[in-house]
């Protein structure tokens, strides 16, 4: 039955997933292309020196890409469920509602992982060839909070989308905005390293919030 849920999610999001994969790897590829250009014009040592002396990581344009991809996935996945309350159909399926929602969220997180990992792998692959391990790892570590923000944006948007009333959606939306700020506070690259395990755990727990919306939906809350 869970497989069938995945099938339904795939029908909704398959096209978007491919687009997101293109966007994610496209932006990462563009960032790498810009670095390659600097390399060919000024030599690889210029990259190294700018990184060491100015704390630059050259991939800042990727900062909000995962966030928007995660948000978009949640919209593509959950807006059709809310259209004329089709979500009732999902809740009427002969499996526990919380398990159905958990399966939907797990599918989404797995999709995001499948969208983000190739971009990270591509960056890692290229950067390894021109930078010392300290430097390319410095870049990748610095991007991790952004990818985590993508997953957070997805789970928080799912929470808001499943919420049945607009009044409460506004409150949840305000909370979500503040929570998302948390991923963009870095005063320097790699600032999140120590906090990442806890932040990852908290991020995955955002999935629990969708259960609150589910309960409110089943209780028949209305504006």
């Amino acid at each position: 039955m869970i497989k069938a849920i995945f099938y339904k999610e795939w029908i909704k999001t398959g096209g978007y997933g491919l687009l997101a994969l293109l966007l994610s790897t496209g932006f990462a590829g563009y960032a790498m292309l810009r670095m390659a250009r600097v390399c060919s014009l000024k030599g690889a040592d210029h990259l190294w020196i700018v990184m060491l002396q100015r704390d630059a990581i050259f991939v800042d344009l990727l900062q909000f890409v995962p966030l928007f991809i995660g948000l978009g996935l949640a919209v593509v996945q959950f807006a059709p469920e809310m259209y004329r309350k089709s979500f009732k159909l999902t809740l009427h399926l002969p499996l526990r509602a919380d398990r159905a929602v958990a399966a939907m969220l797990a599918y989404g997180v797995a999709t995001l992982a499948a969208v983000f990992l190739p971009a990270l792998a591509a960056m890692g692959g290229y950067l390894q060839s021109i930078l010392a391990p300290e430097l390319w790892q410095h870049i990748l570590w610095s991007t991790l909070p952004w990818y985590l923000a993508g997953i957070a944006a997805y789970l928080l948007t799912a929470w808001i989308a499943l919420e049945p009333t607009w009044g409460r959606r506004l409150i949840d939306g305000a909370m979500a905005l503040l929570l998302l700020r948390l991923y963009f506070l870095a005063p320097a690259p790699e600032a999140y390293n120590g906090f990442l395990p806890l932040l990852t755990a908290v991020t995955l727990c955002y999935g629990l919030l969708a259960m609150l919306s589910l309960t409110r939906f089943r209780d028949g809350r209305q504006d």
Binding site: M1, A4, K8, P80, K85, S86, K88, L93, R218
Partner: protein, 292 residues
């Protein structure tokens, strides 16, 4: 007879607005019960409570012996649900939606679904959001037939359907329910459809049930009475007489009481020359609930 649906002392409010208080009713196995009521009397509320999308303030409902709030998810396999407007997953094609639902129901009847789909002028890869409301109603019906549940809960099945599709839906459903001894609980805002379909009816007014009985019995007992009266005549409050009105010197009123009894009571109020007639379900409904 075993009750498949039992609701006891349902009370619900939206905010402070009372919808109904202490509403109780049963649906025995094999019966088709229609819930009739004007807008805002709580039809959708009742359907939502029955399908588990609304928790009433108090009272409880059981379907197949299980409390709705605590129902074993697998029990939902035995309950078919039609959402208002024949909503189905818009993003699926008729093939995809069949494949999706099939894995949830061990007794899935693929042929029943495709037999119905065969009559529709749709391509197998056409998505549901590209279909007309009538076509969507057939998809929704086909899915319910394939699921083959013991109990069907249908919310306003006539919404958005033209007369042809409505008739198709009603005939198909009645034939199926009767042949397979299914229990059906439904609402519709088009009462003629109900007359062809339901065995029993519940007529609701604001906050209460007016009538709960087999449709045949209701139509057998319910009469419309007309009589000529003087200009400005006002019928005093008379027991058993419902919704009296005077239009152009003609009194019109309704009653379920035996005809002789009604004649005697109205004679006391000075009304003679009474004409009685049998009515259809729609007129009975208006007679019971009034026009306003």
């Amino acid at each position: 007879m075993e009750n498949v649906i039992e609701c006891r002392n349902l009370t619900h409010y939206y905010g402070r607005r009372l919808i109904y208080e202490n509403l109780s009713f049963d649906v025995p196995r094999g019966r088709i019960l229609g819930l009739l009521g004007k807008n805002g009397t709580g039809k959708t509320t009742t359907i939502n409570i029955l399908s588990g999308f609304l928790r009433p303030r108090s009272g409880e409902c059981r379907i197949l012996g299980e409390k709705i709030g605590e129902m074993n998810p697998l029990t939902r396999r035995r309950i078919g649900l039609l959402i208002e407007g024949h909503v189905q997953y818009q993003f699926m094609t008729i093939e995809q939606i069949e494949r999706f639902y099939a894995s949830f129901y061990p007794g899935w009847k693929r042929e029943a679904y495709y037999e119905l789909m065969g009559r529709l002028q749709v391509a197998p890869r056409q998505r549901i959001n590209r279909m007309s409301c009538g076509q969507r109603s057939q998809v929704a019906l086909g899915l319910i037939l394939a699921q083959d549940p013991e109990v069907l809960v249908l919310d306003d099945f006539s919404l958005g359907l033209d007369p042809g599709y409505r008739r198709l839906f009603v005939d198909y459903l009645r034939e199926y329910a009767k042949a397979e001894n299914k229990t059906v609980f439904l609402t519709s805002h088009i009462i003629q459809d109900m007359e062809r379909l339901v065995d029993d009816c519940i007529v609701m007014d604001y906050g209460k049930i007016l009538v709960q009985m087999p449709v045949r019995e209701l139509l057998d007992r319910f009469r419309r009475y007309t009589a000529p009266v003087g200009e400005g005549f006002v019928l005093p409050k008379t027991a058993g007489i419902r919704n009296p009105s005077v239009i152009r010197s003609t009194l019109e009123c309704f009653s379920m009481e035996p005809e002789a009894e009604v004649r005697a009571r109205l004679a006391k109020a000075g009304v003679t020359e009474l004409a009685a007639e049998r009515v259809g379900l729609e007129d009975a409904f208006i007679g019971l609930t009034g026009k306003y």
